[in-house]
């Protein structure tokens, strides 16, 4: 049923541009935070925080709050912050078992949601809204809010990194994840956080951030184009394009990166 006209259909700047911009806004925070996450070896923390944010909304919902817009956001951010505080406290005691404990908190939060919703499937719409944002549906007001949050997080991170301490990192992380997950969904958040950072992990900070940025932008760009050309769900295609960019771009740009490294 596919013809050339169908393929060209989706290649429309006004459809793809907001999604691309949402991706860039998420990359802005996720590239520096992702580098930190990879360095600390707490890869699954974003899944745990996102799941805890979702759980918070469900609990509020079970208490009979009518959840819409702002109230759901407050419940989500509050529980994400509580989750961040919890993981931060665990970090001190857990030592080498931290990653395992993060994994366990993810599973506990996810299954707690299932149990709370066992007799209340309407709540599932709410958790879906929080966990499976879809990048193509974003509108300008969402982009604006996310951009403001991203800029604040990035500003604090680069200027006060050493002053905010460990708990500061967890707070910034919880806020970024809660905002990003609703915009682009949990798979893309995980990929944007981990994949570019991982590909650039062996470089020093400056070239690493440049490389991760290029990988991220190329991943979103090529993913959106491929999604339009082949008429596939955008989120999943971008995940694959990010992974391919992470494999290909470091090889192509290794000379450039060594130069940046020598200069700095």
């Amino acid at each position: 049923m596919m013809n050339v006209g169908d393929m060209a259909d989706g290649l429309d700047v006004s459809i793809l541009a907001p999604a691309f911009l949402a991706g860039v806004i998420v990359l802005l925070t996720h590239i520096p935070l992702g580098r930190e996450v990879v360095k600390r070896g707490i890869i699954f923390i974003d899944l745990a925080i996102a799941q805890i944010a979702g759980l918070g909304v469900i609990i509020a919902f079970q208490f009979g709050w009518e959840m819409h817009g702002l109230e759901a956001q407050i419940a989500a951010v509050t529980s994400a912050l509580l989750g961040a505080w919890l993981l931060h406290s665990i970090e001190k005691k857990a030592g080498e078992h931290l990653e395992a404990l993060i994994g366990v908190s993810f599973v506990l939060a996810a299954t707690a949601s299932i149990l709370m919703l066992a007799h209340n499937p309407h709540g599932s719409e709410h958790i879906k809204e929080l966990l499976v944002g879809q990048i193509l549906w974003v509108d300008w007001s969402q982009i604006l809010i996310a951009a403001v949050i991203s800029l604040i997080v990035v500003f604090v991170w680069f200027n006060y990194k050493n002053k905010i301490g460990n708990i500061g990192f967890y707070i910034l992380f919880a806020v970024s994840i809660t905002s990003a997950v609703q915009l682009i969904g949990v798979y893309l958040v995980f990929t944007s956080l981990i994949v570019p950072a991982l590909a650039a992990a062996k470089y020093q900070t400056k070239p690493a951030l440049v490389l991760a940025g290029i990988i991220g932008i190329m991943g979103y760009f090529s993913g959106l184009i491929a999604s339009a050309l082949f008429d596939l769900p955008s989120g999943a295609v971008i995940v694959w394009c990010l992974a391919i960019s992470a494999l290909v771009i470091p090889v192509l740009s290794s000379n450039l990166l060594t130069n940046i490294e020598r200069q700095s």
Binding site: M1, D9, G10, I15, H122, K128, I135, W137, A236
Partner: protein, 286 residues
């Protein structure tokens, strides 16, 4: 992209489900360019966003959907993204099939404990053949309203379809007569309209409330209930997980009948061909 206007401009139809794409084809074939947002193997409650969906919705002159909140998870987002004023709710370009039939399962009171129920009633209206005719007539009128020039074309095609479908329906009613009054079990309340058309009794639904997977105690309760009564079949809709139905079938020996949820429009199937298969499957149980 609008630089080359086709010589014979056609009406762009955006169908949310393939059954309405197929119905539009029956009534407006030749004058319409039809696109179906979902396939017969997809659950129309949830779909993933693709760029082409937005592009098609932007260009649509007429949106044809089931309505009754079936598409509530994605259609409002899509319409907001598309920004096409012609197909907003309340406009002539927004056609909801469920508005033209008598709905079943309309909750008397709505509360959350009842599950994924639709306030406006069960949206799977296309599973009752009489409903197809009611919607066909309403769709013909709507098409004539939007595209006055081709009113005659739509009327003659509608009349031909109405005649053929009525004949087919008489044949089907004959074939399924023996199923009247039989007991069945369903998984999701997808076939409510079909069941009431045939006159079968739904003894139990595997989902305790719509949209929630059965728990082990619920399954055990159903199994016990079924051991006392004679049950003809377990009805299953193709796009949901068949493990609960298979389990119950193994436990009780009652056959599972899997019905195609809707027309395989993208594969070239038509409404009569689809319903022919539904009847064949149903009557495979003697």
């Amino acid at each position: 992209m609008t630089a080359f206007l086709p010589v014979h401009a056609t009406i762009n139809v955006f169908a949310c489900e393939p059954e309405w794409a197929a119905l539009a084809e029956e009534i407006g074939g030749g004058k319409l360019t039809i696109y179906s947002a979902t396939t017969s193997m997809q659950d129309p409650h949830h779909i993933q966003a693709r760029p082409s969906l937005i592009a098609k919705a932007r260009r649509a002159d007429l949106l044809v959907c089931s309505g009754a909140e079936l598409e509530i998870g994605w259609l409002p987002l899509l319409l907001r993204k598309a920004g096409n004023a012609d197909i907003r709710p309340g406009q002539p370009g927004n056609f909801e099939a469920a508005d033209y039939v008598e709905k079943q399962d309309v909750p008397k009171k709505l509360d959350r404990s009842m599950g994924d129920v639709h306030a406006e009633g069960n949206p799977h209206i296309h599973t009752r053949p009489e409903n197809i005719l009611l919607v066909a007539d309403a769709l013909r009128q709507r098409l004539s309203e939007i595209d006055v020039d081709n009113e005659k074309h739509y009327l003659s095609r509608y009349e031909a379809f109405e005649k053929r479908w009525t004949q087919l329906m008489a044949g089907w009613e004959e074939q399924i007569k023996y199923l009247q009054g039989e007991n069945i079990v369903t998984h999701h309340n997808y076939w409510t309209y079909l069941n009431s058309w045939i006159g079968m009794n739904v003894l139990a639904t595997l989902e305790p409330v719509p949209g929630v997977s059965p728990s082990s105690s619920h399954l055990a309760k159903i199994k016990k209930q079924l051991s006392k009564q004679k049950v003809k079949m377990i009805l299953h809709v193709i796009y949901v997980n068949d493990r609960p139905t298979q389990w119950l079938s193994e436990q009780t020996g009652i056959p599972v009948i899997t019905l195609p949820a809707t027309v395989d429009y993208q594969g070239g199937q038509t409404l009569p061909l689809w319903f022919e298969i539904v009847i064949q499957q149903l009557t495979s149980v003697q």
